[in-house]
Symmetry: C3
Subunit: 156 residues, 3 copies
């Protein structure tokens, strides 16, 4: 019972984390496969390795922001933003492999989603401070607005 209450507030985040782990394993297996055919083509190995590294470099940042946003404010929009991020990452990874080496995509991706999640954290902390010093709790309004705003992430 006790621990079910804990799970209640984070289960969507746990599901997204699991999906992201599956995706990490998918990326790593791509690297593994290219690693074994390394003598065939160095450039393909370099490209998949670089794509994987860029994704892995950004991964702790993404996890930290998503969990903070989910715990501080509301888990549903945070998990939704997480799914969008994973889709963007998948597209980035695939796009990286297909590109010719001259025109690689940049190092950064998913900036908009990270910004949105950071904003959620800021709002959550701010809301807590308001509650602490003024006793007013705007959490419900804020959650409604956040839910609505998270759909804006679907815009291309």
């Amino acid at each position: 019972m006790e621990s079910c209450k804990v799970v209640e507030n984070i289960y969507l985040l746990v599901i997204i984390t699991l999906i992201s782990v599956l995706q990490n394993v998918f990326f790593a297996q791509k690297v593994e496969r290219e690693c074994k055919n390394r003598n065939m083509s160095t450039s393909a190995f370099e490209r998949v390795s670089c794509a994987n590294r860029n994704c892995m470099d950004a991964y702790p940042t993404f996890l930290a922001v998503m969990w903070c946003a989910g715990v501080c404010l509301s888990q549903a929009p945070a998990a939704f933003a997480g799914i969008i991020y994973l889709l963007v990452r998948q597209k980035y990874f695939i796009g990286y492999l297909g590109q010719s080496s001259q025109s690689t995509p940049g190092y950064l991706f998913g900036k908009r989603i990270i910004s949105f999640l950071s904003l959620m954290c800021v709002v959550g902390v701010f809301n807590y401070l308001l509650w602490r010093y003024y006793g007013s709790d705007y959490k419900e309004y804020v959650e409604t607005i956040t839910n609505a705003a998270s759909t804006l992430l679907l815009l291309p």
Copy 2:
């Protein structure tokens, strides 16, 4: 008192995290040492640097899955799987250094442990959903089964 209750459910996970941090520092110091002797042998530096990088790439994934599994289901088997993972990682790192450059071990390691921990997360979330929609709590049975299953990780 309040915060002691929080610690109660995670103290094993905290201990494993601390051990993994110690291991990270051990790896990093190996890299640091080779970095200073870099003029002596480039291949040794490349190998230790690559081994460290592969371990570090997988580290956030491991931490995320272990904590999710520990919080959602039960901390003892999650911490046990964590110890096994750290042993596998140590063996992988040492093995990487000793190998000749022709036959490096693969990029991935500890797949079985990551799968076990992911399965624990899935079971934890599933158990929560069962509790929420049907009111039935199989947590005790599940924990017993998980404890038993975690010993299977000891198989080579």
Copy 3:
């Protein structure tokens, strides 16, 4: 209300995490910019990329230790140590860029802060075990000592 209580114990940690995410984005944008001017000077790109990679390698370790220390013992000194770590990291990154390639700074940085945070985790777990087996709670004394000790991190 319920969730405000959760936020109460972690809001300082969330703020530090947000600042560290901003710093990560700053580092990544430096890499991005050098990546586009890559044809101009390879050595500058190599240096900024290496500095970024070293910072990113240590990032999950830092996050894990800071959160464990903050949750297990006390958030204020953990967050204070986190700020110092971010300053050290900034100095390391800037220093890395300015160095000539012969005398790069080492791979490790912020060892003292990571040690301090690890020690906080150990004390927190130890305090919990004391409370569990002997019923004595020294948390207040420990917190006072930790607060005092964290100022020692300001020493150069």
